[in-house]
Subunit: 100 residues, 2 copies
Amino acid sequence: MSLIESKWKSCILDEIRSGEAMRPSEIHKSLPEAAPRVLDIQLKEMVEDGLVSKTIYPELPPRSEYKITELGVSLLPIIDSMLRWGEEHIEIFERKYGKK
Amino acid sequence: MSLIESKWKSCILDEIRSGEAMRPSEIHKSLPEAAPRVLDIQLKEMVEDGLVSKTIYPELPPRSEYKITELGVSLLPIIDSMLRWGEEHIEIFERKYGKK
């Protein structure tokens, strides 16, 4: 459960869900509200947990790409229901905490 | 999504899911691996978020009880699928990080 306890982890999985490899800079761009450094830390942890794979290409300059793993894909239905729950109840929280 | 980002929050909701009111000491006993102080902080946040309601009875000594709210109940299916996912994949993580 703690695997996706950071809100950005589920957003990252949602971004790379198509299965296409993404470069770090593309992931940064797709989640502009998150600090790139924060995303990089999350990605590193997700690689360690086996949710995401990282491939480093020995080019100059070196290029790296992230891709969702089978384990990561198996988490997508849960992430989807969390996102759906969030959308369904957003009004309650906007009323309470103000719009973000 | 961040509402249940702490692992104990989902455990607490799971414990009070029946809808019966529980006293803090009962919740502490049902989750002995968590420090009571940590659980109390989580409960306080969950009351603020509307997932749990707290009733204080003006007795001597004062007695308080926690109960799951409708909003909390609506999160249970997601928590269940998270717990199920965790059980289905527990071997991978035990292999990786050792048994806990």
